[in-house]
């Protein structure tokens, strides 16, 4: 990691810490990337602060994705990749969610671009987002059963076709 990169990361972490000491659960530095682990109930306010604060200015949400750490708990890890175009900086926000009821606040009010990204996570991992304007499946068929990117979902799919999927196979020999 370059010197300026390190300073940038420190500015961000210190800035967040002085704003609200509860906002940061953990800071992870790995291969020059800064990850800030945020408690799930703080996510929305931290995201808003990251976007609006003059010394942070993370105006672009480039990516949001999920990692399933099954069978470990907390099972799901949501990663939000932020970019500050004016400051030429990157940051990753991370939230850890339990496996039995993965729910977190939607970031659509902060970055409207989170809409489809969160729908994709909902579709493939079954993580739900509070106050999402349109939480539907996006890549899989609407009546698909299960969440394919979960670790307990087999790579080759299920051999037994779920009853709801028979309409795709009913007319085939």
């Amino acid at each position: 990691m370059t010197e300026t990169g390190k300073q940038n990361a420190n500015v961000v972490v210190e800035g967040l810490r002085s704003w609200n000491p509860n906002a940061i659960a953990e800071v992870i530095e790995f291969r020059g990337e800064t990850t800030i682990v945020v408690p799930p109930d703080m996510l929305l306010s931290v995201a808003e602060h990251c976007r609006d604060n003059k010394s942070l200015q993370f105006n672009l949400l480039t990516d949001a994705t999920c990692v399933d750490r099954f069978p470990l708990e907390p099972r799901f890890e949501l990663n939000y990749h932020l970019v500050s175009i004016p400051r030429r900086d990157k940051l990753r926000l991370r939230v850890r969610l339990p496996g039995n009821d993965p729910v977190v606040d939607s970031l659509v009010p902060v970055w409207p671009g989170a809409n489809w990204l969160e729908r994709e996570i909902f579709d493939l991992f079954g993580v739900r987002f509070n106050d999402h304007p349109d939480l539907r499946r996006i890549l899989m068929p609407e009546d698909w059963e299960g969440y394919p990117l979960r670790k307990d979902y087999p790579v080759e799919g299920y051999r037994d076709i779920p009853p709801s999927a028979t309409r795709y196979t009913r007319n085939r020999p």
Binding site: E33, N59, D68, P133, V155
Partner: protein, 405 residues
């Protein structure tokens, strides 16, 4: 900044009450560039509401990657965005290299830059040709594919494949490029500038072209950033966001080039940005040609990760063991995550790789620029005419393989 999201609630029109009708565009419509379905609510010819629906090409590439070793997954990345296979290889390999903490030799970096820039030109050529054919200009399509063929021939000569090259590997390149390949690139570089002039003569001043694209599909810079748009679509709105300049990778900081921007943010501006980008790419290819040293390694020296050379395997025991281990069980990066981004022809292509210390990735995620740019489509077309929908889909430049993955 408007905080209303791209509206995508279900279209429900009570029968006989409204004067609007719902039209299904796609998934077999030729101008949707694949299998995109758009539900359009129309009032006469005006689009009231648009709702893109995709997933027809979803093949679960991210899930398949989890069942392959790190090297095997490279072949899957080719097939995501089939107009930019080398760019996908590069993004994926950069992410794994970051995870491993290995550096790539300068010679390999320059060759990567050269090939990726050629790929950008070929992708923009396909875009220009198909976009022009959507808007009724048949001849541009034929010219564009003529030049693209030359680029594909270079790829075939270098990598042995025209499209699914898998040429960029973890730690460098698959093999040394054959002798005489730079002469072919040179020939292409001599020919191409006048060809771009030809396209511009056909289109830039063309009254029909201007009529179909000027002031069509406007989006403000604030909305574009809020909707996470990247690439030429964002640059046409006046935001000079280009990963090659902002977060240089693969030695891009050593190259001199401009990031073309426009401020009109309509379909014509996006067309002008892409044309200018082709010229910039030619500049980068020229510089890379002069920078590539004639001799030197194209693979980093990382035993156990990069396969050893053929000759060494015949003389050294260790090389044979490493070769066997790499191709049977793979290698295990340390636990952690890495996110690498490159500027693909369509925008920011990011690859997120998470490792749990086993030889297979825990998670591979592709930040697909087509998928995220497509999200802004309703914003571009709502309130516009039905015919503009086609121009707007064209200038977002989507590849459905990448949208659905």
């Amino acid at each position: 900044m408007s905080s209303t999201p791209a509206s995508t609630t279900t279209i429900e029109t009570p029968v006989g009450t409204a004067k609007t009708m719902v039209l299904n565009m796609g998934p077999q419509h030729p101008s949707t560039h694949g299998v995109l379905r758009i539900l359009l609510e129309l009032d006469g010819e005006t689009v009231v509401k648009a709702m893109p629906d995709m997933g027809y090409l979803h093949t679960g590439i991210e899930k398949s990657c989890e069942d392959k070793t790190y090297s095997q997954a490279i072949t899957l990345t080719d097939r995501i965005d089939y107009l930019n296979p080398l760019g996908n290889n590069l993004a994926y390999c950069m992410a794994v290299e970051k995870l491993l903490g290995i550096e790539v030799p300068k010679r390999a970096q320059y060759i990567r830059v050269l090939l990726v820039e050629l790929q950008r030109i070929s992708s923009h050529l396909v875009w220009l040709g198909t976009h022009a054919i959507d808007l009724g200009a048949m001849s541009v399509f034929l010219y564009c594919f003529r030049e693209r063929e030359e680029i594909l021939k270079i790829f075939e000569f270098v990598a042995g494949q025209r499209m699914m090259t898998s040429y960029i590997r973890i730690g460098g390149l698959a093999l040394d490029p054959p002798t005489g390949w730079l002469q072919r690139v040179e020939k292409f570089l001599k020919m191409m500038p006048s060809r771009i002039d030809e396209y511009e003569e056909l289109l830039t001043g063309n009254r029909i072209w201007i009529g179909r694209t000027k002031d069509v599909g406007y989006i403000s810079a604030e909305d574009a950033i809020a909707l996470s748009m990247t690439g030429p679509t964002l640059r046409a709105a006046g935001v000079a966001y280009d990963n090659r300049k902002l977060f240089p990778y693969s030695s891009y900081e050593e190259f001199e080039f401009d990031v073309p921007t426009r401020t009109d943010s309509d379909c014509f501006a996006r067309y002008m940005v892409r044309i200018a980008e082709m010229r910039e790419s030619l500049k980068i290819v020229r510089q890379a040609m002069n920078k590539i040293p004639p001799e030197g390694p194209v693979r980093t020296n990382a035993p156990g990760i990069v396969p050893p050379e053929r000759e060494k395997m015949k003389t050294e025991m260790e090389a044979l063991i490493y070769h066997f281990k790499i191709f049977t069980e793979g290698f295990s990066p340390p636990p952690g995550e890495a996110f690498a981004t490159v500027e693909s022809p369509r925008g920011e292509l990011g690859v997120f790789v998470a490792s749990d210390g086993s030889p297979k990735p825990l998670r591979v995620h592709f930040r697909a620029p087509s998928f995220i740019n497509l999200q802004a489509l309703p914003k571009l077309i709502e309130g516009r005419l039905l015919a503009d929908v086609i121009a707007c889909i064209g200038t977002i430049d989507i590849v459905l393989g990448e949208v659905d993955r």
